[in-house]
């Protein structure tokens, strides 16, 4: 059957007077609810920046286009609203690729506007021309090239509509300079009024599917909820809690879903997967019904795919139909938004105790707690995270970089609320932490935002610290300085006979002929570097110092950088080696 033709959205307001394309961009963003636009100017967006001067929303100038996209991304993750950014053509646009790909992998709604050379110059290798449509096609949910100013109001509305519905994602609008200067009488369009024949994100879930799901849950003896990023994106954490409590179903979450279920709840198993808790991974292995709620069976979760949840009936609820059955042959797929599915199934669920199963879970949790060695006189990175948890009473919004620092942040902070965990999952983008923390803080000015980063990753977007300082953001940046690209070093230690190749950042233990003097012990000197960017900064080496530094930083109304000199060879454990079964788990404690 053919889907219906585009019905033109009805025009409620009086058609406004002649407007430039550039003005249409500002008006379209405002109409879509944009309150902060992140970006960086250049030749092909001069007209838009000219209109931006009078825009009804705030503009935040990043110091690199990648930073602008990550900021918009952090804003979106912290609020659930689409993040907005704007950059110029050519190098401005190519600098956004990592940011777009990061958002695309994690299903984060963004609208990214790029300037483009004038239409008649496209294809001529004009100054700062790049085939942005071609380059960004595979890292966006969708992209548009605007060829006529009369299409612009509708395209902007469509971009927001596509970015925020179905499985959310980044949408790019490439706008040639002459289109920005051309004029139209067409009015601004609200994203809610868009309808497209080829894109129908709303799906109806059948009554029989709901009944079947309820029956599976009611019959299961060892049911397990496995919540993924869709639980956060789909705003379903309340309902997950309700379902878990009604039938005593234990819950594990993926990294993307940290906070979707309170980790201090007795039914919580914490995170599942490669660096997840032993209890969560054992539970997956032993459960007889695995209910995936917006998770996508990523290889970092499943390990050896044909042995994953091998004793369970697997149910996969996802708004992305293509995710169902992609990695794992699930027994029962439900294509739909998580919230209405859970809402519909709840009344059919019989209260249940699952005593034996819940007791088994409790035993695993106490038998295999998370833990780490604590040698005398060395600051352990895990201790720093625990301290952040304690001193913020678990209320901080945590934005992380990628690597060991990220994994420790998953393990030693207790996530109890959705949208308090901001981290690059699918793409694993180093350099994401600081700019995303800035986006999150701008969106939630009254909350404590802590950025946890490694000594490697922080250097990838350090320049954005200026943005935090100039907007008086009280972000606390914690650098876990282990002197290594730690996560890579860990893999070299475990799987490449400790041949540490290309992972050393610290200046200690280098050959003398590399000319390191005593003053150059810390390269870069993060404290001086942070101070040069206008932040308050300190270096700490003991637990006591960490505590004092954090306490002060949490009170301070000013950007703070705390460099923690931590154990250089601490590892992230437990670990299920890549592609392995839970039985191959290494490094877990046993009580």
């Amino acid at each position: 059957m053919k889907k219906k033709k585009d019905s033109k959205p009805e025009i409620k307001e009086q058609a406004p007077a002649l407007r430039s394309g550039a003005q249409c961009v500002i008006d379209g963003l405002a109409k879509a609810g944009c309150d902060i636009l992140f970006g960086y100017p250049g030749g092909t967006v001069l007209d838009i920046f000219n209109c931006l001067y009078d825009a009804p929303f705030q503009f935040i100038l990043s110091r690199h286009e990648q930073g602008a996209v990550h900021m918009a991304d952090g804003y979106a993750r912290a609020t659930g609203k689409p993040g907005c950014c704007i950059v110029t053509s050519g190098p401005g646009a190519t600098n956004t690729i990592t940011g777009l790909a990061t958002a695309n992998m994690d299903g984060i709604p963004l609208v990214c506007i790029t300037g483009q050379v004038a239409l008649h110059l496209i294809g001529t290798d004009a100054f700062q021309e790049a085939d942005v449509m071609g380059i960004t096609r595979s890292v966006t949910k969708h992209n548009f090239l605007v060829r006529d100013v009369n299409e612009l109001p509708e395209i902007i509305a469509k971009a927001f509509y596509i970015a925020t519905t179905g499985k959310p994602g980044p949408v790019l609008i490439d706008i040639p300079k002459n289109i920005q200067r051309a004029t139209t009488t067409l009015p601004t369009i609200a994203p809610e009024s868009v309808s497209m024949r080829a894109y129908k994100p709303d799906v109806k879930v059948s009554k029989s599917d709901i009944e079947k799901l309820a029956e599976l849950i009611n019959k299961a003896e060892r049911p397990l909820l496995y919540a993924g990023g869709g639980a956060i994106n789909g705003d379903a954490s309340e309902l997950i809690r309700e379902l878990a409590h009604k039938a005593n179903i234990p819950v594990c979450t993926t990294m993307m879903a940290l906070g979707a279920f309170p980790e201090n709840d007795p039914l919580s198993l914490g995170m599942v997967g490669m660096h997840g808790t032993a209890a969560a991974n054992y539970a997956v292995d032993k459960s007889d019904l695995l209910i995936s709620a917006g998770a996508r069976f990523d290889d970092r979760v499943t390990g050896k795919i044909d042995q994953f949840a091998s004793k369970a009936i697997t149910v996969h609820i996802d708004i992305d139909r293509s995710a169902i059955g992609k990695n794992v042959e699930t027994h029962f797929g439900i294509h739909g938004y998580l919230k209405p599915v859970l809402k519909a199934v709840l009344p059919h669920i019989k209260p249940s105790k699952h005593d034996a199963w819940v007791k088994q879970i409790k035993d695993w949790k106490s038998k295999f707690p998370l833990g780490y060695p604590q040698p005398e006189g060395v600051l352990m990175p895990q201790t720093v995270i625990k301290m952040i948890d304690t001193l913020s009473k678990g209320k901080a919004i945590i934005a992380t970089d990628v690597g060991q620092n990220q994994m420790w942040a998953t393990q030693y902070f207790t996530y109890t609320q959705p949208r308090h965990w901001i981290s690059s999952g699918g793409l694993g983008t180093m350099g994401f932490g600081l700019p995303s923390a800035i986006g999150a803080q701008l969106a939630r000015m009254n909350e404590l935002v802590v950025c946890i980063s490694g000594d490697g990753g922080i250097q990838m977007n350090f320049q954005e610290l200026v943005v935090a300082v100039e907007h008086q953001l009280p972000i606390v940046v914690v650098i876990l300085n282990n002197g290594y690209l730690g996560m890579v070093r860990q893999w070299q230690e475990l799987f490449y006979t400790k041949r540490y190749s290309g992972v050393m950042l610290s200046q200690q233990g280098r050959r003398p002929n590399e000319g390191i003097t005593e003053e150059q012990k810390y390269l870069p000197d993060f404290v001086k570097l942070a101070e040069a960017h206008g932040a308050t900064a300190c270096r700490v080496t003991t637990e006591k110092e960490v505590e004092e530094a954090l306490k002060e930083a949490f009170k301070r109304k000013h950007t703070t950088v705390i460099e923690c000199i931590v154990s250089p060879e601490a590892n992230v454990f437990p670990m299920i080696p890549p592609g392995a079964h839970v039985s191959s788990m290494i490094g877990h404690l046993k009580n």
Binding site: M1, K2, K3, K5, M133, G134, R137, S138, K141, H142, L145, R147, I162, M196, R197, A198, Y199, D320, R321, S322, I324, G325, K326, E329
Partner: protein
């Protein structure tokens, strides 16, 4: 097994690149791809022939459906349908004997003669993909100067 997938898309610039990019980016194998207009000028039809098991074909179908410009994806293989591929082949015919042999094969397959030159003959066959392949196999002993296959196109046989 080979599958025929019909894909109705918005007739807009860049859509073909989007579909081709999707197929190559996700590492799907395809045998043929045909693109053309439909009765509705705003809609184009792509016909993709791809080898693979049910799981692979389901993934291709789902990934295609997910594209914002894709209106509808129909897996034709298991539905009553008509399929055709057209081939144009120009074969060397140096003498009358050779020409007779070529014409023999042509008539066996019901191929049409569309052009005759002093030393070559051009044939056309529109049939299902298997027949086209068999026909070309039978032509193999002769010198094929040039050859073009259209890729498969297909229409359903039942009302929707």
């Amino acid at each position: 097994m080979k599958h025929i997938i019909n894909c109705l898309v918005e007739n807009q610039p860049g859509v073909l690149a989007r579909i081709v990019g999707l197929i190559s980016g996700r590492g799907y194998n395809i045998d043929t791809l045909n693109v053309g207009p439909t009765a509705d000028p705003t809609v184009s039809k792509m016909t993709i022939v791809a080898p693979g098991d049910a799981k692979v074909i389901d993934q291709i179908t789902q990934q295609l459906s997910k594209q914002v410009d894709v209106i509808e994806v129909i897996e034709m293989t298991n539905k009553p349908h008509l399929e055709r591929e057209i081939v144009l082949v120009r074969v060397e015919t140096k003498d009358n004997a050779q020409r007779a042999e070529v014409l023999d094969v042509a008539s066996m397959f019901n191929a049409q003669v569309v052009d005759i030159q002093k030393d070559s003959i051009s044939l056309q066959l529109a049939s299902n993909q298997n027949a086209v392949s068999e026909f070309l196999k039978a032509m193999q002993p002769h010198h094929i100067i040039d050859l073009s296959r259209s890729g498969v196109i297909a229409v359903g046989r039942e009302s929707l």
